[in-house]
Symmetry: C2
Subunit: 301 residues, 2 copies
């Protein structure tokens, strides 16, 4: 069976795995990124991690997931907030020149969406829109098992979608951007405002209060459900996906908001679009498996 | 040079053209649809129009544009409000069985988007989002010269995108749906409300008042510009297109709203997305040329 190398390069850790074509992780190694020591140090570390994998030289190709928007054609990061020095750095070419194997790089959310589309909850579906709701909100469009990354690698930057123009300005994102209204961070902020700074450490505390029937917490969850429904309806009207695959830590609270969200959503889309499904993300390691699926998708047999 | 047959089947007229691979319309014929006489009558008419084209039998394939969402895989209309009887009718197969040539059908807006992406203002671009602002608002996503029609043919049903949840309910579309707030029909409705029923016959009358410096008309145009900017920003965050190609009759008033719209829009998207361009639609016959481009895109040489 063919195998692929997946690399998950984050600001803190870099992880490398050998993955087979069915998405099984055969071996996985990791190390700290040590970005402070510079790009060449990080590249040398990635190379050494790959070479520590049994039979790495038999792999078809290498795929990398990185945080931030990517110029996938040239294999470079467009923005590298968490990996200073890598903005515009020819990361794919450096790895490809060393191993002489086709190497691809894409944004970590796109890569996770790819993993879910090819092998996870979106397996067998034509148009998959992957959404992760965590501290932030991100998305990825996967059409026929290929990521549509966008002209500037910004496809799926759904955090900035305006779901209500009448909100407070929170940060650099748009007024009423969905990430500032319905992410884990937003729920924490809103929970602190209602229940006090000490009562709420994270969104899960708001969800717990909602589970106990607290009316104010239920209201926060209902608002969140409505805000997310607008976001999902907007995406649906733009690309009409077959399935939304939804992941991220906030889904731990799905029992208090997801059914409400879906009901609102279905009232916001046309009758002919109702076959769209919602599925929860399935892969334990979507980032690294998805990265390994990049060469699977792009290397012609 | 290869040639293709394009069919533009509307509720009132059906037009058929022979188009070469550069998009030149070599011959065009038309007739009234007479949908009241039934589907078989319409099919016989389409066949007869195609057979009236010189050298129709040398064409590579046939493409058809129809009003409403289409199941492109099975070549059937999902909804056929303007073509009663054609919902679920195997229109592509009927034409293909007669001519023994590959036949494709898609929504008329998708087909126009295809025409603009392949041969018009989006020529040579990777990800094109076509938007038509007319009596209604429609869109089409074209990736690498292939239309992404969506699971139910509803990709590009951007009319229903919510740009402000705090508006009046107008019709079956969502409260605050962009088509009810910023289309030609919406501008006519709003103009009548401000200036009186007799003062405004169509959106162009509002634009004329704005050109004369009328403050209320300028306010309506400014609101329209902001509403459209939210719609474009949402689409940009979902798919990050290389270019928006914008067509439709309302663009006749572009001098009073488009620059404002683009300024608002650029303040709603990330710095890294600013390379996105706006171009006005170029083709005189995007519907029929785009229809002819369906076999060009989907028939492998």
């Amino acid at each position: 069976m063919k195998t692929y190398i997946g690399v998950d390069l984050g600001g803190t850790n870099v992880r490398v795995a050998k993955v087979d074509e069915e998405g099984n992780v055969l071996q996985i190694v990791k190390d700290s990124t040590e970005i402070g020591k510079g790009t060449e140090h990080v590249i040398a570390k990635i190379i050494s991690l790959i070479e520590s994998i049994d039979g790495y030289d038999d792999c078809v190709g290498i795929g990398m997931g990185v945080p931030g928007p990517v110029d996938t054609v040239n294999g470079k990061m467009v923005l590298a907030t968490n990996l200073p020095g890598f903005e515009g750095y020819p990361i794919a070419k450096r790895i490809e020149d060393h191993f002489h194997k086709p190497t691809f790089v894409d944004n970590d959310v796109n890569v996770a969406g790819m993993g879910e589309a090819v092998l996870g909850a979106g397996k067998g579906k034509g148009i998959v829109y992957y959404v992760t709701i965590s501290t932030g909100i991100g998305g990825a469009l996967v059409v026929d098992q290929h990521v549509v990354a966008g002209k500037n690698g910004h496809a799926g930057e759904i955090a900035n979608i305006i779901i209500d123009r009448n909100r407070e300005k929170v940060n650099y994102l748009n007024v009423g951007a969905v990430e500032n209204e319905a992410s884990g961070t937003a729920m924490t902020r809103k929970g602190k405002a209602v229940f006090g700074i000490d009562a709420i450490a994270h969104a899960g505390d708001v969800f717990d209060l909602a589970r106990k029937g607290n009316a104010e917490a239920l209201k926060l969850c209902d608002d969140m459900a409505y805000d997310l429904a607008i976001m999902f309806s907007v995406i649906a009207h733009v690309v009409d996906p077959e399935v939304f695959v939804v992941g991220g830590g906030v889904m731990k609270g799905k029992d208090v908001f997801f059914e409400k969200m879906e009901n609102y959503f279905r009232n916001m889309i046309h009758k002919g679009m109702q076959t769209v499904e919602f599925k929860e993300a399935e892969l334990e390691e979507p980032g690294i498996i998805g990265a390994a699926m990049l060469p699977k998708a792009y290397v012609k047999d």
